[in-house]
């Protein structure tokens, strides 16, 4: 049980990171690769939040009286992840736009077939 308590979130986060990287490395379909990048990003975000967590902590919002700053989780990783989620979406949207255009030029999304530039 204590193993789960210590490692459940880390396992989840790095599980996503590795599955995401695996998709990027072994898949040939561009959209599939982009899905891999999205899972990879989610894993990193989960890791960052897990770094900032404090056991039995509360959310860092002083919504009512009697909340102790010492018992709150670290707000900084949450701020970083907010930024990183938005950046991730920006990259994914651009990637999907490029994928749509590539499909129109080549008629396929298979990265093995899209290789005019190799010498």
């Amino acid at each position: 049980m204590s193993f789960l308590q210590d490692y459940a979130y880390y396992i989840g986060a790095f599980g996503l990171v590795f599955i995401g990287l695996l998709i990027v490395l072994v898949q040939h379909n561009l959209i599939k690769v982009i899905i891999g990048v999205s899972i990879f990003d989610t894993g990193i975000n989960l890791f960052l939040i897990a770094v900032g967590y404090i056991r039995n902590g509360t959310a860092p919002i002083f919504s009512r009286a009697g909340l102790e700053p010492g018992a709150m989780v670290d707000p900084v990783p949450q701020a970083l992840v907010l930024t990183s989620i938005v950046i991730g979406v920006a990259v994914l949207a651009l990637a999907l736009g490029i994928a749509v255009r590539l499909y129109r030029e080549y008629g396929t999304l298979d990265l093995r077939k899209i290789r005019e530039l190799r010498w």
Binding site: Y9, N29, I35, I39, L46, V89, D110
Partner: protein, 79 residues
């Protein structure tokens, strides 16, 4: 609580693995949407409500919509 979290993690990893093996891109996108949704519940359990909201609205909803539109513009099945 930790049991719930561990179960969620297991389902999330299974969904991610499903995204790896599905040859139907639409199913793969839905699987990655499930990953994002569960991640947003995990954010909530980790006392990060702001991030959970952002992940649910941006990471799970909007980007899935963009994925689906992109798949409609291209092709649904991997070769």
């Amino acid at each position: 609580m930790i049991v719930i979290a561990a179960l969620l993690v297991a389902v999330m990893l299974a969904a991610a693995a499903a995204a790896l093996v599905f040859r139907d891109l639409l199913s793969a996108v839905i699987a990655s949407c499930v990953v994002s949704l569960i991640a947003s519940i995990l954010f909530l359990l980790l006392q990060a409500p702001d991030v959970a909201m952002a992940e649910a609205s941006i990471g799970a909803a909007l980007i899935t919509a963009v994925f689906v539109i992109a798949i409609r513009r291209t092709e649904r099945y991997e070769e």
